[in-house]
Amino acid sequence: MKFAVIVFPGSNCDVDMYHAVKDELGEQVDLVWHDADNLDQYDGILLPGGFSYGDYLRSGAIAHMSNVMAAVKKAAEAGKPVLGVCNGFQILLESGLLPGAMLRNKNLKFICRTVELSVQNNETMFTSLYEKGEKISIPVAHGEGNYYCDEATFATLKENNQIVFTYASDVNGSLSDIAGITNEKGNVLGMMPHPERAVDELLGSADGLKLFQSIVKHWRDSHVVNA
């Protein structure tokens, strides 16, 4: 399986993401600059964390107008897995690939620590190797991770099981402790916590690795004969 890690000016978790895939997952991966206009050769798209365009205007607001985003949308429409982490999640929200928006953390502080998440939905291509309700430890590092959406959107999220990860206890004021959601089709996941920073016990937790392994499993099951 071949992944693209999209690099925007100001991305800073791109190399972590690259090594998580290359060294821990053992799959192919390229760093792809934001002006690329074709992602057809990739089976999965990863939008890393950071501060694209210095978070000017709003987090992710400028990056979502990047040239590469048309290709990301195309990949999403084709059903390919698209994962946005932290700033990547914010970019997916700005681009409309995921519903809702991010507000500043309730306590106005940048929060950087490992938190406990609950896997709310393990029937997605991103979470099939987790147990439903499993508690996992994944680091967060953000100032604007306070997820917000209107009531109608929230009802739809619940109805379609789009809420995939929640914080085990309140971290940033997010609506219903939401930490990660998918689109309706289930192939676009945005999450504030950083699974790529939790792929080896040496890093303090390897709980994020199963997320990437789930993506690969889903791809193998549908693309490789006798997988």
């Binding site: 205007l57 709003r58 607001a61 400028i62 107008m65 929200l93 700005e94 519903p99 809702g100 928006a101 507000l103 500043r104 953390n105 309730k106 306590n107 106005l108 306070n146 917000y148 959406c149 209107d150 004021g173």
Partner: protein, 84 residues
């Protein structure tokens, strides 16, 4: 030439933790009558004469980029300004 002033504010239904912190700070300074503070953004855009539909363009950029309709409202003022 047109000078456009754009104000982007958080929707009424959206909590503004920053505004709340400022309101509390004002209150602790003794300004107890300040009931609420909402923080927004102010932008100035300068249009040259090549833009024919200034108002239409302003609305378009407000909706596309300058504000996020999920959490923000915008309003604008258009002023004619002299060529410099």
């Amino acid at each position: 030439m047109y000078k456009v002033k754009v104000y982007v504010t958080l929707r009424e239904s959206v909590l503004d933790p920053q505004g709340k912190a400022v309101q509390q700070s004002l209150s602790s300074l003794g300004y107890r009558g300040v009931e609420d503070v909402r923080i927004g953004k102010y932008m100035e855009l300068q249009f040259d004469d090549s833009v024919t539909d200034v108002e239409g363009t302003v609305k378009e950029v407000c909706e596309k980029l300058l504000s996020n309709p999920v959490i923000e409202d915008y309003r604008y003022e258009i002023e004619e300004s002299a060529n410099q």
